[in-house]
Amino acid sequence: MVPVTYYMFISAALIALGVYGLVSKRNFIRMLISIEIILNAANLNLIALTTYGLYPRVGPPDLSGHVMAMFIIGVAAAEAAVGLALAVSVYRTYRTINVREIRKLRG
């Protein structure tokens, strides 16, 4: 089996890339894609740690990490749907999806 740390390195690279995109990009859809990358990084870590048994466990093996990852995938789908609908609605009002130019609610 591949050492568990390799999976964690991939996950660390993904989350750092996601935060980089979230901080440096100004396009609403690009930021949504970055959020999806971050959620996927969390999922990879949860699944790797559960499969390698790196969680407090007393009785028989339980797969709460896998169940948690399933919930995260489901919530990520809901988040993408709402975020993209928001992007469409914002574009209809402001004719831009550059978050720098959407400043009506900014003090």
């Binding site: 050492p3 499969t51 797969l63 209809r92």
Partner: protein, 171 residues
């Protein structure tokens, strides 16, 4: 030094995952970014399969490649091509946060004795489908129902947000 088959597959999937995530964040074209997100999801599903979570890998492909990426692709088509954006200060802040997060995480991973604590869960050829279903229906019933309600509410909300009144602006 000889590599086993699963190590070679792992290495390939790892490189594809990180490279396509980089492409999803950095490529100029939003369609290419969405396609890279799709490639990243597929290779992550492969990694889940290597972690013997076949059930989750199927779930990942169904939800990400099937729903999220196609949703993003169709939405991208509604907008004009992305104008080159990003001030140098934004770029610098992004690179700084990238370096800080990656550095902190790598330090944490390297300085912890993970190998000593590893107790692999016994492998199940069908990806623990029955175990997961059982715990979904027994231990996690309320979260499962909440997730269902959340999905329904989110989709209705998305429809309401994106709906056009008759005669209102079109895109």
């Amino acid at each position: 030094m000889s590599l086993s088959v699963s190590e070679v597959i792992f290495g390939t999937l790892a490189i594809v995952t990180v490279a396509s995530a980089l492409a999803a964040v950095e490529s100029r074209n939003l369609v290419r970014a969405a396609t890279s997100l799709m490639i990243m999801s597929i290779s992550l599903a492969g990694l889940y399969y290597l972690l013997s979570a076949g059930y989750l890998s199927a779930f990942q492909i169904a939800v990400y490649v099937g729903a999220v990426v196609s949703l993003i692709l169709f939405t991208v088509m509604l907008f004009p091509p992305e104008e080159p954006s990003g001030k140098p200060s934004d770029e610098a802040a992004g690179l700084l946060s990238f370096a800080l997060i990656l550095g902190a995480l790598v330090l944490m991973i390297v300085n912890t004795a993970w190998a000593a604590a590893v107790r692999p869960v016994p492998i199940d050829p069908v990806g623990w489908a029955s175990t997961i279903s059982r715990s979904l229906l027994e231990r996690y019933t309320v979260p499962l129902l909440t997730l269902a309600l959340t999905l329904a509410a989110a989709l209705i909300g998305a429809l309401t947000l994106a709906k056009t009144e008759r005669g209102e602006g079109e895109i």
